[in-house]
Subunit: 273 residues, 4 copies
């Protein structure tokens, strides 16, 4: 039973927040197109040759996009059933951050700062997240990461200690003449190496340095198994529960995934299989 | 009960589409040898010194191969029980794409275009996929990827947003003098870094740039756990189901793998254990 | 039932080893702040420009930190219920190693040695491990790694043999003129390649060298699946056991995780599910 | 019940093939030490400066090691209960290959060939595999890899096709002036990129080239999930079976791991849980 909207506010609300009616879908698709276009323009504007040719046009378009997004933001605040809740939500904050930088660029006309501000508009692309299809999958990934976040934090701490020690050792072994000018630079090299990125801008030249580097590489290569194992195991548990957990008809509520240690649904309190 | 083929069409059909008779096997093995040979020739022909010595021979061979594959394609269309269905299938399209480029090279004699066209012949190797042994394993991998495709798409979207933001930030931090000439170039560098490829053609030089780069590397290194975890968990579920799912004698149909959320076989509708 | 501490020793013990009282928490937080500060100073002191400006200050601070940590170490020995056990424990040894290098730097005034010693102070950061929150997660990761340690050692041995053979082959194929000056250098290159680090300081130039390198890369890329698979499977088993293993009320003791092959709790001997 | 050995053959057999008696252990440890020493010497001998200083000593040592290993090989053949079976076994062949190269170096005195031959001695280190401790873990890894070998082969074929197509495309897009001199060189670059090694000796310079490279990197980064997922799932299945499969007292034979699709032990034919 859908109620025919009467007031302007209700009509706008259906267009902006619904996903099932034709006007709402058209509005969403158009919005996504404009967002992608504006991000592409920010990126292209940073290329010197393109800026020289189309800088003026881009400046106008940037302001047009900013005005569109501002009106859209105000409309969302206007039609939201709980305005403060929308404004505090992740999407509300992103919506606001998508328009503020252009206005700030008026009051701080310094070129360099203007560039910093310009970048934040890229955040606009996050609005694509509103597309409902992906929210559930994102929820799945988010829950698996949350459930294993402490293990991953512990792992990152181990990585941090390892690169600190190896970075300091490499500074002592290789020294300034081979590009290791300080311990922080050694630590940077150790991060480049343990993550297997390996730019090659700094690389060990001496025999003991290369032996230590080899050790670090093999550790980094093997240790990658740890976060992967943590997340794999967590997701396997979640799949297992989704499949075998709740028989037909006993699903407690709309919550389809439960923490791996949950005995009761944390949404509705019903005991789980 | 195999029926003895009577007409030419039936005989050809048994040679081309069957896998159990000796002529069919010989036909397949010969075809694979010719495909590999033609791919190797296309590759070698691109080496300047080899092209100078054998360019003429390669040109003749290329046309011989193209004619062989054209005849084979026409034969397949001729003997197919449902011709339109074969032509629309993935293999039908690949079979056609394997011969078209050589003909196109007649009408568009520009060297550069000719080279582009030449490359597509590499697609011929896909015909090897017809080898029945691998189809089932490919099906396994494909189902696991399909079942987790939305999660992986969500993950790729997250990567895209991250490299956009970090790429823009690096452009602002490092600037033109350190090789970051524009935001798109910064984004390219961020992709090279987050995927741990790390060419080193562009690399950060300043302290804040290196700190941001370190963050990106550790994120890329840790975040790799996500797609791996998704696919591992999916495959573990599939293995579990294959092993424990269907007891002997209750297998519903030839379908051996079911979606992890399936309550009924989606091929025959029989309820699953 | 907590007993009110009477003697100085008991009071100190509560502050140093407890985690629940306010003074103990403040003590821990302050200690962590000082440790991080001292590590940062060691690192910054290695940057030539910062050392020139603040070297004197850093020298004084270094001695202040060393004295603080020395007093703290002596206090810990004093209040420990079993002094020898604390001194032999991993944390006791790390506590001692955190202060010794500065004293050694008095007797061995050579700059180079002093630098080596300075580095070991980074180990101080390990004291952060005392933070109780992370101990359980660390225990989880440690048990999973221990349970799969022999498999991972076997895997590392396989990597070692592979890089030895490929490194020797590359030395023969590429030779001195392409940067492979000896077998050990070839082995170093093979480690850089199989771990997918790829600095690019040494890289193959000849056709057979590049073919062998391609093979090594694909092996390294595929073989990464082995340690990851081992740890993933081990952690999935552990999750499975934590979830389904012990029904409410039958938990044998405080031990929550059991080896995957355990029939009885190795802490209290009670039979497991 | 161990029978006291009487003949020389029996005594030797106990020393060489047993692991429980003191002489057998000492023999094994000594052998491993000699193997490692000989491998290290081969490696060091390839370093020009070390060869100049110790080349003569190394030459003598090399012959001493070769004679030791030859006597050992002949002894093994002599005491083996089934001589032909030992000689055909993997270890028998490796034992022989460990001594042949030095003898071959007499008849083919060319320096370059001599170097090729020298390398094969590194294979000696494989004899370490005899250490019984690791054999079972190796068996576990081997079974998991065998069970998933067809899936991994399919995956490698997919990688091969991808790098062929992308390598050819990059040759067309970037061309000779950016270091892509031929399609095989493009394929080499694609392998370096998809495996995330990224030497940086060849790297794209044009905008479409970098876009294609970015695509390849993200594919390579995501697709790594496939072999990892396959092996993880296989090992999880094996762990599951080891844990829950065979209740105490029903173990059919010494075989502890069964294929994931086995209904009966393939060693003794007993039905599996």
């Amino acid at each position: 039973m859908t109620i025919v909207p009467n007031t302007l506010k209700e009509k706008l609300g259906h267009i902006i927040f619904d996903y099932n009616t034709l006007p709402a879908r058209l509005f969403d698709l158009g919005l996504i197109a404009v967002i992608i276009l504006s991000v592409v323009i920010v990126m292209l504007d940073s290329v010197a040759s393109i800026h020289a040719a189309y800088g003026g046009l881009f400046y106008v378009l940037e302001w047009v996009f900013t005005l569109i997004f501002t009106v859209e933001y105000l409309m969302r605040v206007y039609v939201a059933s709980n305005r403060f809740r929308y404004m505090r939500s992740a999407f509300g904050i992103i919506d606001l951050l998508s328009v503020l930088p252009t206005y700030f660029s008026l009051f701080f006309p310094g070129t360099q700062y203007l560039l910093v501000i310009r970048f934040f508009r890229v955040l606009r692309i996050f609005r694509l997240l509103k597309l409902v299809k992906f929210v559930r999958e994102g929820e799945y990934v988010k829950q698996a990461l949350l459930a294993s976040s402490r293990k991953i934090l512990f792992f990152l701490f181990f990585i941090l200690v390892t690169v600190s020690i190896i970075g300091a050792l490499m500074y002592l072994i290789e020294g300034e003449e081979h590009g290791f000018h300080s311990i922080p630079e050694g630590v940077y090299w150790a991060i480049v190496t343990i993550t297997t990125v390996g730019y090659g801008d700094i690389s060990p030249q001496t025999v003991p340095g290369r032996m230590l580097a080899s050790l670090l590489m093999i550790v980094g290569y093997s240790v990658l198994a740890v976060p992967t194992g943590i997340v794999s195991a967590e997701m396997a548990s979640m799949n297992e529960q989704i499949r075998s957990g709740l028989p037909c008809g006993t699903s407690c509520c709309e919550r389809i995934e439960h923490d791996s240690d949950a005995k009761f649904c944390k949404e509705c309190g019903k005991p789980l299989g």
